[in-house]
């Protein structure tokens, strides 16, 4: 039987606010345990939550970026469950009336096509604390620094049909929240994590199969591998005549398998109700307008502009617009290179990225600045140095020896483009090699390369190759007899 997979993702992204969603406590990552947990975060009696305006603005920005409805009135609700890292016994979230509903993003498929993926909703909520099970032998340690950190939970429609599509969608959302500056998207630190709802059904069926939920997938690779494993598992169960049980499962990356997490009887009885401590959140026209004005250029808009203004191909555009830092770097490095933007694109995705990967540096920390690279590209463009010499200059720039002009000057790397000077060398080389010159004139055109090599050797590699070719041809053809 042929099977069809249906996947929906719930992405939790931490919002990059300075303070928590309902308290004035800091959100800095990596602080000493419990030094960033105030009375509100600790759930002390008598405290009241006060909503962070920036968290609201960030949620609205996301909604605008996915073309969603920004709900003018949304309501906070309590999600009730007991766990030691949730001091209040409930998480403040949004349930029936979320702040953002009905949006979509377009993802690029591997076959070159595109797919629009619906986003059911995005709602604001607070994060829980962290439980540390490995620190003590018979106890669990609780760090409540993370409790109350603002989260935006982004819920997709069940419209993803493979593990690869799910990972592509997750990357798209990751790119978007980083462009919007609403999250650092740091997956190692847990700022961006994902749960996946997965079911399979016989191809052509319209009714959904029973789903399993995979929890806490915190890398793009694990999302793909965990979903792949889970699809296989469910198909095996069904083909053996069994039934898929609705349950929460955890992905074990060491064993590359999923296994059940919570017992069924406790499953999802959260008894949501509106939080009486918080009034409904209303977003008026003025607030919405001010947020609209602060919207940065979106990835889709930049992609369009890169195609139009720089004439770049779709593959290069994907690489050069992966993050807003990447896009900004490219644009600054390509400034003034009219008609030669491909050169800038090649250097950005070639030498620059190779060096960044080699040294494990992010583009924001690149020792070669966009202006430095632009300077270098200008010198290639105006013929001062060859592309090959430029690589040497780039390495020197990377090592901190100064800007391109300084390095070219101190190392004496200028190409010899002076036609008169070059022609003298060419003439000499031809005169010194009468045998080869004769063979060339006899039809062995391939020997041109030999002569170019000789000229390069004579000039210490600094001759402008294009000029050398032209002069050699002229000299060899002219002296024929």
């Amino acid at each position: 039987m042929n099977w069809e997979t249906v996947i929906g993702l719930e992405i939790h992204t931490q919002l990059a606010t300075q303070s928590k969603i309902f308290s004035g406590e800091r959100t800095t990552y990596g602080a000493e345990p419990n030094t960033q947990a105030c009375l509100v975060d600790l759930g002390y009696p008598g405290v009241l939550p006060v909503l962070n305006s920036e968290a609201v603005a960030m949620a609205v920005k996301f909604g605008l970026a996915i073309g969603a409805t920004i709900e003018r009135r949304s309501v906070f609700a309590r999600k009730n469950y007991f766990y030691p890292d949730l001091p209040k016994g409930y998480q403040i979230s949004q349930y029936e009336l979320p702040i953002v509903s009905r949006g979509s993003v377009v993802i690029q498929l591997d076959d070159g096509g595109q797919k629009r993926v619906g986003i059911t909703r995005a709602h604001l909520e607070e994060d829980a604390g962290k439980s540390l099970h490995e620190t003590f032998k018979d106890q669990t340690g609780i760090d409540l620094n993370r409790a109350g950190t603002p989260l935006l939970e982004i819920v997709s429609e069940p419209e993803l049909s493979s593990a690869a599509e799910a990972a592509t969608y997750m990357r798209k959302i990751h790119q978007l929240v980083r462009y919007l500056g609403i999250s650092d998207g740091n997956m190692q630190e847990g700022s961006f994590r994902c749960d996946a709802n997965i079911s399979v059904r016989p191809s052509g069926d319209t009714e959904l199969g029973t789903r399993a939920e995979l929890k806490n997938l915190n890398s793009f690779r694990y999302v793909e591998k965990a979903i792949e494993f889970e699809i296989e598992r469910q198909i095996d169960v069904l083909e053996d005549g069994g039934k898929v049980v609705q349950e929460t499962r955890l992905y074990d990356s060491d064993k590359d398998e999923t296994r059940p997490m919570r017992s069924k009887e406790e499953a999802n009885d959260y008894r949501y109700f509106p939080d009486p401590d918080l009034l409904p959140l209303e977003i008026d026209e003025a607030l919405l307008d001010s947020i609209k004005e602060s919207m940065p250029e979106l990835p889709s808009e930049i992609e369009e502009r890169f195609a139009k203004d720089y004439g770049l191909n779709p593959v290069d555009i994907q690489i050069l617009t992966a993050s807003s830092e990447d896009a900004k770097f490219f644009e600054a490095s390509a400034e003034g290179l009219d008609g030669n933007y491909e050169l800038a694109a090649n250097w950005n995705k070639g030498e620059l990225r190779a060096a960044l990967n080699r040294e494990g540096v992010t583009i924001s920390d690149s020792p070669v600045s966009p202006a430095d690279l632009n300077n270098l590209l200008q010198r290639i463009s105006d013929g001062t140095i060859s592309g090959k010499t430029a690589k040497e200059v780039f390495e020197a720039m990377w090592a901190g020896e100064g800007d391109a002009d300084q390095i070219i000057e101190t190392r004496g790397l200028q190409q010899i483009s002076d036609v008169v000077a070059l022609d003298k060398v060419v003439q000499q080389v031809v005169a010194d090699n009468p045998e080869q010159a004769g063979q060339y004139r006899g039809g062995k055109q391939k020997l041109l390369g030999f002569f170019v090599g000789q000229v390069m050797q004579a000039t210490g590699g600094k001759a402008n190759p294009a000029e050398v070719n032209k002069l050699l041809r002229a000299r060899l053809d002219a002296d024929e007899n």
Partner: protein, 95 residues
Amino acid sequence: MGLSDKDVQHIAKLARLEVSDGQIADYVEKLTQILDMVDALKEVDTTEVLPLAHPLHMSQRLRADEPTEKNQRDLFQANAEDVKQGLYTVPRVIE
């Protein structure tokens, strides 16, 4: 609307309340009375009425995104039953 013994046991478990077998019948009766009262309210026609999220006719005030708290860990942890290495410690819980 009638509740079963099982319903009461389930609610008690979710709320982490210990209810002995002898108490169940009493809870079934009292909780059923509360639910019956809610059922009585359902007789009012509310088709034109929006759900009420809060009795006050106000909307949520917002706070500026500025840290205002100081670290008072020692003070807060003086109330805790057990603390180690800055962590609140509880009997081991693991999935």
